[in-house]
Symmetry: C2
Subunit: 190 residues, 2 copies
DNA sequence: CGACTTGTTGATGTATCTCAAATCGCGTGG
DNA sequence: CCACGCGATTTGAGATACATCAACAAGTCG
């Protein structure tokens, strides 16, 4: 059973699995957060997804991982060995569908939205994973945000500044976000 | 059983399901091709995926469709009712994982690649779905290619011209593609 | 063989990237 | 508690890739 397995703990930046490694496990975030990314030959990085408490990741069929998963801050993860428990896949279907849906949502964001719209969408997404949806701390540095949204850190920063200047959000230090005009932010992402 | 079900036939542009409609079916392409897309409020469209013979689409958990699926050319589709056959989900897990993987691959393309690189990746993807991988016809108009790659039709056209001028591909009419330097094209996508 | 749709090419505009510098924020140690 | 130092973030100036607008060419179909 999943819940009988111990929690593995990872420090900030530690990799949970790496591209090229032999696959065969399914992982679930217990606390903290995880980024899953791929790197192109020229060094460009795309973060495919962020995962927070309760979310499954690393779900795939192939023998090797194509992506890398790293802890963001101190993070706890439980894993199932799918080789030993092939029947466990059944219960994971909803998780795969959820991952798939998130991936599609994100395609929309990076395919057809402007920089400010992407950042707005990102803030809303993060707010939904926080206890207080209108006031929260980002777990990750700007570089992660940029590589998630297909932008540069400078453009992310400028977009945040624009949202701040319009009075839609307030910034509290480098990571603190306060959403003042939630509705306006939502309308930006249409 | 899936294979006992009749094939539904659709003409070019006909929708198989539409955004907002009640969901609950899984679909498989028998012949022809399908585009799955979403439209933002301001009219911008993002094609999430193209599906060809044998590929499953429309796989999701929710009660309503978020996307629209349309036939590209005359297309045959078989469907399963997942309400009546909830156990059918089991056999669909590999299909969901495949869709998910494709979606992630595409995230990489639209998030971190230049226009020419995106078009190169697209041509390789299409070549893999064709009988002759170095000489094939595109099923879809430029607008579809553009909306799939997060570009405009003009940029797609210019990118094709660049690849042609470099001698990497040859164009035969509006839809015919011949890949002359397969290796060079692959290296472009790294 | 025209009319219409689809695709290409050209000229210009603009959002985002790149390169560079200033500033902030935070941990450390005096 | 405050000064220091360093990485993270912001801001600025200039370059560039892609979008936009407009005209042209090529296919397609009656």
């Amino acid at each position: 059973m999943v819940d009988a397995r111990p929690i593995s703990s990872f420090v900030d930046g530690e990799s949970i699995y790496s591209s090229g490694e032999r696959a065969g496990q399914a992982y679930r975030v217990e606390f903290g957060a995880v980024r899953v990314y791929r790197v192109l030959a020229n060094g460009r990085r795309q973060i495919l997804a962020f995962h927070f408490g309760g979310s499954w990741f690393g779900l795939q069929n192939e023998s090797q991982h194509r992506s890398t998963a790293e802890a963001i801050g101190v993070t706890g993860v439980k894993s199932i060995n799918l080789q030993e428990n092939p029947h466990a896949w059944q219960g994971l279907l909803p998780a795969v569908l959820e991952n798939f849906l998130s991936s599609q949502e994100h395609q929309l964001v990076i395919g057809r939205q402007s920089a400010v719209e992407r950042v707005a969408a990102f803030l809303l997404e993060m707010s939904q994973h926080s206890a207080h949806s209108h006031r929260f701390e980002l777990f990750m540095p700007r570089m992660d945000v940029a590589d998630y949204l297909g932008l540069t850190i400078e453009t992310v920063s400028r977009s945040l500044t624009k949202l701040k200047n319009k009075g839609i959000i307030r910034l509290h230090g480098a990571r603190g976000i306060e959403i003042v005009e939630y509705g306006v932010l939502q309308r930006l992402c249409l």
